[in-house]
Structure formats: C-alpha cells, structure tokens
Amino acid sequence: MSTPNVVPGTDTGLLAAELLEEERVKNATPYVPPRKPFNVGRWIRATGWRHIVGIVMVVFSLFPLLFVLSSSLNPQGTLTGSNALFSAIGIDSYVRILSSPDIPYAAWFMNTLVIASVTAVATVFLGALAAYSFSRMRFTGRRFGLITIVVVQMFPQLLAVVAIFLLMSAIGDWFPAIGLNTHLGLIMVYLGGALGVNTYLMYGFFNTVPASIDEAAKIDGAGHARIFFTIILRLVAPILAVVALLSFIGTVNEFVVASVLLIDPEKQTLAVGLTKLVSNPRYADWSAFTAGAVMAALPVMALFLFLQKYIVGGLTAGSVK
C-alpha cells in the first residue's frame, strides 16, 4: 500500500494523504452500526431458511453413512440388530470379517487396490501419450481420431461383456496367465477404455501448456521423448492426478466385467465379493459386511475429499467448451 510509485486513482493506489486520513479515522472511535434487535422473522427470511434446508439435506446425506458406521460397530450380526444406532460399540465385526475363513476379505482388498492402482497408472500413461500427440502434433487423421475417441467412449464396455468373456476364455485356453480368472487379463480389458474420456480431459489440459515451451526445449536439443517425459508430464501433473483418481474410483466400483472374468473367490475384487456376501441382506452377516464397507470406503473417501476441488475442476474443464 505504501509503495511510493502507485498510480493514484486506481483501487490499490492511495495517496499518502488519504492513508493518513484513513489512519486518523481508524484511531478515532470506531464506527459502530446501530445494533438492530434480533428479529427471528427477519433472520429466517435472510439466511435462516437456508440453514434449515442445509440441516435437512445434511441429515438426508448422512443418515445412511451413520447407519453403516453404527452397524459396523455393532457386535451383533443381523440386519435387525443394526437398527438401534450406536446402541452397542465394539470391533468384533471387523475382527470377524478379517479372520473368517469363508470370506477372503484381505485378498479382496489387496486385489482391488492392486487392480485399481495398476489400471489407474497405466490409463494415465496411455492417455497422456495419446493426448500429447493430439495436442502437439498435426497429422492426417488427427480430427478423425479425436472424434472417434469421443464417439467410442459413448459405448460402455459392459455392453460387450459377453464378447469380452468369450474372448478372454479363448485367450485363457492359449495363454492361461492373461486369460479368464487373472488380474492381468482384467486390467488389460480395463485398459481398452484408457483412451476415451480421459484422453479428452488431458488433451484439453495439454492445450493450455504453451507450445513455445516445447520449441524452446527443441532448440536446446531435446528430442520429443525427452520433452514429453521431463517437461510436459510435469507441467500437466494436476490433470494426471485427476484422471488417475477418477480411473481408480471407477475401477473400485466396477462390477460387471470383474464379476464375469474373476471366478475364484480369492481372486475377486471388493465390489464382486461384498456384493455376493450380502446377496440376501436378511441372512447375511450384516455387521461384518458393513465393517468391510467402512474399511473399503475410508481410503476412497479420504482420497476423494482430499482432491475434490481438482476433480470438480477437471470435470467441468473437460466438458465446458
């Protein structure tokens, strides 16, 4: 404020005299607005009703989550027993689901983590390669390629699940390591969708990185691979994180392809395993399931809340033209 060369008349620039005047006013008795008596009606009209809406919505949003938490802490196993919220607290059901010989929960958890992480990293890598070429190079078929990617993403993979199943079982006859009932095979199927909406999101972001950076590096003698790996990938790190997270969450939630391709119980993912576990909520060990749900949800929710600003930014950046 007190820099001597500020331009008078602009918002930030105040003349020294004005500063002095301001100082004088501050030191004098501060201006206190006449205090209006609190009026409930006026408060409700102004912001109170908003708080009422907010409280209603928070209750609507939270009660299923509180229900999950409460039944996971309930040592009793049944669905009925879970209805009295937080009536009993213990970690028995957590112990039960982790130690039960019939429920390979730890294996599901690890499978999900491994499959989702590998898929996320590989998706980001394949998508970034494609986005780089679309953003930085001009070649025949570029527009066609971009449009194809937009159109192909319209067709969800799960519609072709029969064909995927038959293809993977044929591959499994020849190469058991990547066929049916293997994690590698499942990851490969997921990578079929690596180009798609992800590439499109990344492409938009790549375009915001000035091409002059590439050119400067080129003049300094860097090849395209070096520019891509050491310069561009670092500059677009935020969108890479967003795409990785979206892909991770998407894979954790994916049920159809995983349920069809993974046959052995200990090879399945959380989505497949937990769903089969409570296929009949009435007879299932409900609190063991909710304990599993809490453990499955915590990492995802933490990651999500940590990065939610970027996710929302990424989503809108990709769609808003």
Binding site: R50, N83, A130, M137, R138, W174, F175
Partner: protein, 535 residues
C-alpha cells in the same frame, strides 16, 4: 475446444523435414536407442512366444494377426517419420482389441445360437455326447494300465492281453509304443512320458477317473477308462455316430438323431441331444426380440423404464443440486463450507456400497426405514413393482445430487455479478433474473454434463443390480427379467444368470442397445453442437 489455430505455419519443406529428423536423431543419443531396442526386443520376444503357443493350437488366423501387428509396431518405432503413431499405438492396440473388436464380436455372437448347450464346435459336441454315453462293455478283458504324464497332460499306458503296448490321452487315440519299459508283462514307462507314482495317482484321482482315451480315430470304437489307475476297461458309447450321414443313433432305443441345421442332433419328434454346437443362425435372435411375445413384452417395458429412469434421475438430481447451489450461494450465510463438505459425502462413498447399504435399509421386514423411521411399518420398498422404481429413484437422487450441486455451484459462481446488477438496475425481479439470465448461461456449461449423466444412468448397472437385482421378478416371461431391470442389467441376466445362458440373445440385445445409444448420442451431439466445435 480442439484448436487448430495453434500452429498455422505452412507445411514444412522437404529440407526442413530432413533437418528436423537430423535434430531428432542427434538429440536421442545411444541411451534412448538402447531403451528402444530393449523394449521392442521384449515385445518381439513375447510375440514370438505367443506365435509358438498358438502353433500348437493351430490358430492360424490369430498367428497372422499377431505377426502383422508385431511387424507394424516394429516399423512404427524404428521409422523416423511415424512420430504421432509412436504415441498413439499403445493405447490404440488396447482400444482396438477390447472396444472395437469386442463390439464387432458382440455383433457376430448376436447372429449365433451361442449359449448353454451350444458352446463348441460340432466335433466337440460329438465327442462330448459320445463320452457322456459311455458304458462299460460287458465281459471285456481287464487291461493293465499305468498313468503317465507328458507336459501336464495325463495319458494311459495300456498293455493289451496279447502284449501290445499302447499310449494315448483324452485328445489323441491309443498308439503303438516302441520299446516300452516293462515290469514283468506290464508296461510301466515309455519314452517321452513320466510315469506317475502311487502317491501322485492318489493326488490326481479326479483327473484320472475322468480320463477316457479313445481306442481309435473312430469314436464308435469306444474308449479306455480306469477307475483306479491300475486296471482299465473298454467302454463303448450308447450313441453310434455316422460321420457320413451326420447322424447319431441311440443303440439302446434305436432313435436316430440327425443334424437338421439347428446346431444340435434332432430326432424326428423334435427332441434334441445336448450339448449341441454353435452355428450362425442369422437374424433369429433379433427376430425373437421383436416377435416372441414373452421376450418382446419385457424388452418394451424395460426400454421404457430405462428411459424414464435415466431421464428422471438426471432431472431430480439436477434440480435438487441447482436448488441447493442457489440456496448456498448466499455470501451472508455462515458455515456454508461445512454444509458443502457434509453434503458431498454420499458422492465420495463408493457407489456399489451405497446401493447395497440402501438395499439393507429398505428391507421390508428388517430394514432401518420401516423399523425405525416408520415405526415398524412394512412398506414393500423393494418388492412392490411401482414402489421399487420409486425407491431406485430416491436412492439415485441421494447418490447423484452432490455431483450436480458441485458443478452447479461452480457454474453459478462463474456467472459475473455485473449481469445481475445490470438487470436489477433495469428493474428485473430476482426470479426473472434467474430464469432469463442465469439459467440459460448455466445451461450452456451444464448441458454436456447432463447428457453424459443421462448416458451414465442409461447404463447404471450397479445401482439396479445391487439395490433390487432387477426385482421383483416378472414371472410371466421366459427370460430372467424383473420389473426394475434396465436394458443393461437384462443383458447381464440373459447372458450370465439362471440355468440357461443365452449369449446369442444377450448379444442381440446389446446390439439393439448400441443402436439406441448411438442414436441418442448423435442427436445430443447435434443439439449441443459439440461435433461442430471439433471441426
């Protein structure tokens, strides 16, 4: 969005291209080259290994495809001109195999009778039928056998009463063995085969008892089986196969089953021998979808419900999200941040879990909603056809409104305040300002998200499958379908649940959905002019 104006330089001349190539080569260095050669070496090694394995299975078409793709990949990465292809190839290979190819394959399966009872070739069907009808030949001599192994494949080493020694597996008929190792008059080993020890025989009993080694190339000659790994007996099938006439004859009943072109041996009275085999049946699956009343009925109401579900889900989540965005967009309100975080939580909770949890809470007799919130009522939330649909919409509202709330908040905040001020000065009421100024501006940026949200819900398998499993079941149809099934969950059920799996019909359904989705996509693209912007 796709901005071609970034580089409008004229096309580079030949000399410029040459210079660029030289610069590129100079910048690479030997390390880059080494990495490239090692990576390509790994790819080629895998490809060659794959080709060898496929040679064993006589998969000539697949071998050809792998060979061509490998050559193209090598050419792309060694050539100096194919720069964009170097970046696109890895993703495109997966895209072509697992999106484009499976789409075409789905179309092909839609024209076949593939499914339970029809999932192999005719030869496989013949051998499966014959071996399922095997019966021990009465008074046949006991053969001395040893169980042998060759690269994981079990075989039987058979010593015939006349001293001949033969070996064979499930897939290769018995053949004479030269200089076997004998123990007394029983052969115990042969070159190239490992004889199983007694302990191994015990450990692999299941595999050994399922062995049926054909006596000769003619399936009618029967097969040798062993119950204990020590002695074998000749079994012949009750079915007699006549390859020339293409008929199966049941020798016990005398019924003749002929190949009538429907993918199974069929008797005159229409009785079929299953398993049959896979054939192309043309438009029959599509025809069934549109003409067979017990399939067309469900297909029609499932399609209608799918559209209603997707549209109502988008509308309810959008309006609730928009309403909340407006409510919480007031600067005077305290604690907006906390409300916002708490309301995002349903969106952060993994959606497959939410659906399962709601299924528990909406349970008619034990669920939280009936027992606690409604004080012991028994509202059939998930078991009444109409109420189940309402429940699905409520749960999807819970799942989806936070997303709409977030994007609407973002879009609202990006609308400049000056517009509101100007309109206020001109005497506009708040409602008019919202309807005539803010909403249209908001829709410009939200419309693409609404379309993608519609497309997502159109195929929102998880919610339907985990909340109601499509139920309550519609008992009036021949396929496994319920009142709340959407198209995609119906496909899954037809293909993968229940006693009979009808891959052909499921794929035909998939193709129909593909077409519906494609039409919606084209129309919505036209409307939002997204494709125009691409050009």
């Amino acid at each position: 969005m796709i901005d071609d104006d970034v580089r409008t330089d004229p096309k580079p001349t030949r000399r410029q291209k040459q210079a660029a190539r030289m610069a590129e080569a100079a910048s690479g260095g030997w390390r880059t080259l080494l990495v490239k050669i090692v990576l390509l070496g790994i790819v080629d090694a895998i490809a060659i290994y794959g080709i060898f394995v496929l040679l064993l299975h006589d998969q000539w078409l697949v071998i050809g495809v792998i060979a061509v793709v490998t050559v193209i990949v090598n050419w792309i990465y060694f050539s100096r001109t194919q720069l964009p292809a170097k970046y696109l190839t890895p993703g495109v290979i997966f895209l072509i195999l697992f999106q484009v190819f499976v789409l075409g394959y789905t179309a092909y399966i839609g024209f076949t009778n593939y499914g339970t009872g029809h999932n192999g070739s005719k030869e496989q069907a013949v051998s499966a039928l014959m071996s399922s009808a095997l019966e021990r030949v009465p008074d046949s001599p006991t053969l001395q056998v040893s169980v042998v192994d060759q690269a994981g494949t079990l075989g039987l080493l058979v010593t015939e009463p006349d001293g001949d020694v033969l070996v064979g597996t499930n897939d290769s008929p018995l053949e004479q063995v030269d200089n076997p190792q004998m123990d007394g008059d029983k052969a115990v080993g042969a070159d190239g085969w490992t004889t199983l020890s007694f302990a191994e025989v015990i450990a692999r009993t299941d595999q050994i008892t399922s062995l049926a080694v054909p006596a000769s190339d003619d399936p009618n000659d029967g097969a040798v089986r062993t119950p204990d790994g020590q002695s074998g007996y000749l079994y012949v099938s009750n079915l007699q196969y006549d390859a020339e006439a293409g008929t199966m004859t049941d020798v016990t009943t005398g019924v003749v089953y002929t190949d009538t072109g429907v993918g199974a041996f069929t008797a005159d009275d229409g009785e079929q021998l299953l398993p049959g085999w896979q054939i192309v049946i043309g438009w029959e699956n599509f025809g069934r979808a549109f003409t067979e009343e017990s399939i067309r009925g469900p297909l029609v109401y499932v399609t209608i419900w799918t559209f209603v579900f997707a549209a109502v889900s988008v509308a309810t989540t959008f309006f609730l999200g928009l309403f909340l965005a407006i409510v919480f967009n007031d600067m005077r309100m305290k604690g907006r941040k906390y409300y916002r975080v708490l309301m995002i939580l349903p969106y952060a909770f993994p959606s497959f879990l939410s659906a399962l949890v709601w299924a528990g809470m909406m349970n008619e007799s034990f669920g939280f909603i009936n027992q606690v919130l409604l004080g012991g009522a028994s509202v059939p939330w998930l078991t009444d056809p109409t109420l189940a649909k309402v429940s699905i919409l409520i749960v999807n509202l819970w799942l989806g409104y936070p997303y709409m709330f977030l994007v609407c908040t973002g879009a609202l905040q990006s609308i400049p305040d000056e517009l509101t001020e100007a309109a206020t000065v001109d005497g506009a009421k708040p409602w008019a300002i919202f309807r005539l100024i803010k909403l249209p501006l908001l829709l410009v940026s939200i419309a693409p998200l609404l379309i993608s949200s519609f497309a997502f819900n159109f195929n929102n398998f998880n919610l339907i499958y985990m909340l109601t499993n499509g139920g309550p079941r519609d008992s009036s149809t021949s396929i496994a379908v319920g009142h709340t099934d959407i198209l995609i969950s119906m496909v899954y059920k037809v293909a993968f649940t229940g006693q009979t799996r009808d891959y052909g019909l499921a794929s035909a359904f998939s193709i129909i959905i593909f077409l519906v989705v494609a039409i919606i996509a084209i129309i919505s693209f036209r409307k939002t002019r997204a494709l125009e912007e691409l050009n």
